[in-house]
Amino acid sequence: MTATEFIKKVFFFEVLQGLALTFKHMVSPAVTRQYPTEKREPVPGSRGLHALVRDTETGKEKCVGCGLCAAMCPSQCIHIYTSEGEDHKKVVDRYEIEVLRCVFCALCVEACPFGAVALSEVFEYSGYTREEFYYTKEMLLENWDKNMAGEKGRIYFEKFWRPKTVDFGAPALVKTEERKTV
């Protein structure tokens, strides 16, 4: 042990350094956010509670009941029941999602050719029973009306998903950093 080391040890030099560091942190502002009163805006395109897109023209769901989303879903939480309506058209009777099983991978949104299913930005939902999270078609449509209808829904599909059958015009070249900032 050299003389400097000895002196440092006797005068608790390293302990004092540590104390100085903690003191510095004490006078610097805290980084925590007071969550329920002070919320962070969700990033556009973030994956929250499911929604079923309502067609503005017909006033009904866009979904045609092809079942691609249910086929893609890794946690198998989408259940679709269809029947034959007039003119041999497929009618979606029930479209149900078990939200508690969902892993929010958004493969269903990617799979859907019509842009009929979406993940809204709602992330605060809670309840006392499991049954509350068995979302039926009506609940999913209502969720769309409440959270994603109008311009927000359009931007959601145009910027992030661009489903194959929907015409968004010429693809605008959006640079990566711009996408992040939207």
């Binding site: 540590g18 104390l19 903690t22 003191f23 004490m26 805290a30 925590t32 007071q34």
Partner: protein, 321 residues
Amino acid sequence: MNANDIVWILIKTIGVVAVFLIHVMFVQLFERKAIAHMQSRMGPMRVGWHGVLQPIADSIKLFFKEDIIPTNSDKPIFFIAPIIGVIAAVSSLAVIPLWEGFSIANLNVGILYILALSSVGAYAVILGGWASNSKYSFLGGLRSSAQVISYEIAMGLSLVGVMMMSGSTNLSDIVSAQAEGRWFVVPQIMGFAIFFIAALAETNRVPFDLPEAETELVSGFATEYSGMRWALFFMAEYAGMFVMSALAVVCFFGGWSGPGFLPPVIWFLMKVYAFIFLYFWIRATLPRYRYDQLMGLGWKIFIPVALANIVLTGLIKILLK
């Protein structure tokens, strides 16, 4: 002693204990806030403005919590242990002089009285840990017993220098001996360092909180305690911290003395709270010691250094005569 004296002593006692209970409630808010800010957090924010009413909410919660008694515990000892702790810690307040001429009992053996009660306080931890009949509690109790008897020696020896310089063990006399800013911390810097570190060990605070090391022993001796009984242990710990800080202020930092623009009691409390803040500051900074390091430090470094300090003080006192 007439009836008037007895009434006056009762008033003083009740006043000091009441103020002290409020102190215990709010010092833990102070601790949570201080440590939170040192970790770039905010601490309690919900109850009242910046959480100032949090201690009251906590005490109500603790008061109504279920009092769980382990089946195979030794029930009488399990009940008595926290009470011993809190009585020992709170009675130490009796000799602490808050300002000139004010202490509940102006004992001639003040320092010895505090040391005696702090050693009785160790029983709370040992017996509580033993009576819980749990391995964690038991290990916590054993660690505490060994730690407290080792560090009490170093602590007593470190105060001998102060006793030699003031020629008294009466706390008021020690403060008067430091009049006009001749604080004993300057000549007794070695004694002060040992005293402070031993006080950390004696009150089971970080970095010597081996008896309640969370990562190893869950909550040490207090693992099986809940509700009010746990709160009594908690109170004893904070009371011990207050008493040790007050003892440090009285013995090394001139007690209630200070420039005249503030009343003496404010000076005293400011110094004590500076010390309590130092406890929290150290808790936020340092990691926990290993147990064998702790014992080695106590026996191999602090006791010899404290003895050397006594010899040096005596030599200098004779030379200056």
